[in-house]
C-alpha cells in the first residue's frame, strides 16, 4: 500500500543519501519491502543476523557489491550465518574453484560492511543475545523462530537482502512479529503423551516441529504438553523443523517459552483456527516421512548439528562415540565460537573419527560424497531439505540411533523408544 508508510526525518535523510549511496540503497530496498508488508512505520533494531552471506549465485554478490561500493557499513552489532565454505577446515568443501572463489568474495563483502565473522546459523548460542521484548532483525528461519519463541525477542521473518538493509540502516518494518497482536497463537497443538524414552533427545521435538510446520500454515502455533524440562537444544530442533516443513516464525510452548505461561496468554483473544492432537503414532509418521530408506538399510554416513551443535550437544556426541568404532563417516556441524569454547571435546570427537564442520553445514554445500549415502541425521531440517538440495537419501533418527547406525553401517531404530510395536 504505497503512501501509507511514515518515515522519520532521519529515515528520509538516509533515503536521500546523507549517509552515503550504499546506505541510501539499503533504505530504498527497506522502504519498498516495508510497503509490500503494509508497515505503517519503521522501528529501531538492536542487532541483526545476516543470511545473505551464503552463496546461491551471482545475484547475491551483485547485491552485496552494490552496498560495499556505496560505502555501506552496519550500524548495529551484526552476526553472519553459515557460508558455503569452511574456512577453518579447508579441503572439506568440494566446490569447484570458480564457485568457491565467488562464495569467498561474498563472505568478504559482508566482512567489509563490518559484520562479525561468526558463520553460524545458531547466533543464539553466542554470549550476547537479545533480551525479552527487544526488537532485532534476524534472518535464517531457525534463528528467527528461536529468537521469537525461546528468547522472546522480536524479529520479522527476514531473509536475504533485507537482513543487511536492516543492519545498515538500524531499522526494520513495524509489522508482523514485531507487533503484540501478531504474536498471539492462532493454532493449537496438543501433545497427548510425550514419549518418556525420548525426553533427553532432540528427535521427538523435531518430529513434533515437523507436524506443527505442516499444519500451521502462516499461523503462530501454541503447543501444549511439551515437557517443562525442554532444553534450548530441543526447542531449537522443534523450531528448525517447523520452519522447514512450514513457514513457522514463532511458536509458543505452553509452560516453557516466555510469552506462554498459559494457553490463554499465548492465544490472547483469538479462538484458534486449528486444534490438533499429536500422539506417538503421528510422531512416528513424521519420523518416517523424514526418512527415504527403511530400517536395516545400509547407511553411508551420519550428519549431526543442523542447526549447529551447541557445546552441550558436542559433549553428548563425544560421550556417545567414546570407545566405539565408527564404520562410516560421521560429521558434526557447529559454530567456530562454540567449538573454540570446548577444545577438549573437539579433540575427543576428532580422536573418535568424527569430522567437525564449521562455518557452513553439510546440507547446503558439497561435503558428503554421494558414495556416503544414505545419510542418517538427527535433524528434521536436514532430513527435509537434503533430498531436494543434494539428491541424497536420508534417514531421520535420534542421536543414539545415529551413532548406533554409524557403528553398524546400517540404519538402526530403537523400536521401544518410539513405541513401534
Amino acid at each position: 500500500m504505497p503512501g501509507s508508510l511514515m518515515l522519520s526525518d532521519e529515515d528520509r535523510a538516509m533515503l536521500n543519501g546523507r549517509r552515503g549511496e550504499g546506505a541510501g540503497f539499503a533504505m530504498r530496498i527497506l522502504v519498498r519491502a516495508a510497503e509490500a508488508m503494509g508497515a505503517g512505520r519503521l522501528l529501531d533494531v538492536s542487532s541483526a543476523h545476516i543470511d545473505g552471506c551464503l552463496y546461491h549465485g551471482r545475484a547475491g554478490l551483485d547485491f552485496a557489491r552494490r552496498l560495499v561500493d556505496g560505502g555501506a557499513e552496519v550500524s548495529v552489532p551484526t552476526t553472519l550465518n553459515v557460508s558455503s565454505l569452511d574456512l577453518l577446515h579447508p579441503g572439506l568443501v568440494r566446490l569447484d574453484r570458480g564457485t568457491a572463489a565467488e562464495a569467498r568474495e561474498l563472505m568478504d563483502a559482508y566482512l567489509a560492511m563490518r559484520c562479525r565473522p561468526t558463520w553460524t546459523c545458531a547466533p543464539y548460542q553466542l554470549p550476547e543475545r537479545p533480551a525479552l521484548g527487544e526488537h532485532v532483525a534476524w534472518a535464517e528461519s531457525n534463528a528467527i523462530v528461536f529468537a521469537n519463541s525461546v528468547l522472546g525477542a522480536r524479529t520479522g521473518r527476514y531473509g536475504d537482502f533485507i537482513d543487511i538493509c536492516c543492519a545498515v540502516t538500524g531499522r526494520a518494518p513495524a509489522a508482523g512479529l514485531h507487533l503484540d497482536d501478531e504474536r498471539r497463537a492462532r493454532a493449537v497443538f496438543r501433545i497427548e503423551r510425550f514419549p518418556e524414552r525420548l525426553l533427553m533427545d532432540e528427535a521427538a521435538f523435531a518430529a513434533i516441529g515437523h507436524i506443527v510446520g505442516r499444519a500451521s500454515g502462516t499461523a503462530v502455533p501454541a503447543i501444549v504438553g511439551l515437557p517443562p524440562s525442554a532444553t534450548e537444544d530441543q526447542l531449537k530442533a522443534l523450531g528448525a523443523a517447523a520452519a522447514s516443513s512450514g513457514a513457522v516464525a514463532m511458536f509458543h510452548a505452553v509452560g516453557v517459552t516466555p510469552e506462554a505461561p498459559t494457553l490463554e496468554a499465548a492465544t490472547g483473544d483469538h479462538a484458534p483456527a486449528v486444534d490438533v492432537s499429536i500422539d506417538l503414532t503421528a510422531m512416528r509418521a513424521a519420523r518416517d516421512e523424514l526418512s527415504t530408506v527403511e530400517v536395516g538399510a545400509a547407511a553411508g554416513s551420519v550428519s549431526i548439528g543442523t542447526p549447529h551443535c551447541s557445546a552441550f550437544e558436542l559433549r553428548r556426541l563425544a560421550a556417545l562415540v567414546e570407545g566405539r568404532r565408527l564404520a562410516i563417516p560421521c560429521y558434526a556441524n557447529t559454530g567456530r565460537d562454540v567449538l573454540a569454547g570446548v577444545p577438549g571435546v573437539a579433540e575427543a570427537l576428532r580422536r573418535a573419527g568424527v569430522t567437525i564442520v564449521t562455518d557452513t553445514c553439510t546440507y547446503i554445500t558439497p561435503i558428503i560424497e554421494r558414495a556416503a549415502t544414505p545419510v542418517v541425521t538427527n535433524s528434521g531440517k536436514w532430513a527435509w531439505y537434503a533430498p531436494g538440495n543434494l539428491g541424497f537419501d536420508v534417514a531421520f533418527a535420534t542421536l543414539e540411533e545415529c551413532i548406533d547406525s554409524a557403528e553398524t553401517g546400517r540404519l538402526v531404530r530403537d523400536r521401544d523408544a518410539w513405541g513401534d510395536g
Binding site: 530504498r28 509490500a36 508488508m37
Partner: protein, 137 residues
C-alpha cells in the same frame, strides 16, 4: 476477473499460468539453473516454472528464497509474475531486488481467489496505486 487484494511489487508481465496446489520455498524447492520445481515433498515436483505466471497459496520455509528468486531472474529462469493467496514478503523482496539490480520487473500480487487454471496465458498488470488486472492472453 479476480478479486485482487494487494500489489506487493508493481509491474506488467504475461505468460502461461502454473497453479501450485501447495506453497513453495524457492530455496530448496526451485532450481534456478533449470527453472524447475525440485522439492521432493511437493506434489508438483518437476514442474517447469520459467516464464510462467506462478499462482500459489503462499510462500514457505527458508529465508534464502529472495536470493534464489533474484538469481533466477538474473539467469532468466524465473516466473514472470507471482500471484499469491497470502502475502509473502520474502517472495516480494526477491522481485524488488531483481528489479533494482537487473531492471527486470516481476509483478507480485496477492489475490485471494484468482480464477486461474494451469495452461492458458494471462497478463498480470499491477500498478503502484494498487490496482491489479489479470487478463486473458
Amino acid at each position: 476477473m479476480a478479486e485482487a487484494t494487494r500489489v506487493l511489487v508493481p509491474g506488467t508481465a504475461s505468460g502461461p499460468v502454473v497453479v501450485l496446489d501447495e506453497p513453495l520455498s524457492f530455496w530448496g524447492g526451485f532450481d534456478p539453473a533449470t527453472g524447475r520445481l525440485v522439492d521432493t515433498h511437493h506434489p508438483q515436483v518437476g514442474a517447469a516454472l520459467g516464464g510462467c505466471v506462478l499462482v500459489m497459496p503462499a510462500g514457505r520455509g527458508s529465508s534464502s528464497s529472495s536470493y534464489v528468486l533474484a538469481e533466477a531472474v538474473r539467469v532468466g529462469t524465473a516466473p514472470v509474475a507471482v500471484v499469491l493467496g497470502e502475502s509473502d514478503p520474502i517472495v516480494a523482496l526477491g522481485a524488488i531486488v531483481a528489479e533494482e539490480l537487473y531492471g527486470v520487473g516481476l509483478p507480485v500480487v496477492v489475490a485471494t481467489a484468482p480464477a486461474l487454471v494451469t495452461g492458458p496465458r494471462v497478463t498480470v498488470r499491477a500498478d503502484a496505486d494498487g490496482t491489479v488486472e489479470l487478463a486473458d492472453g
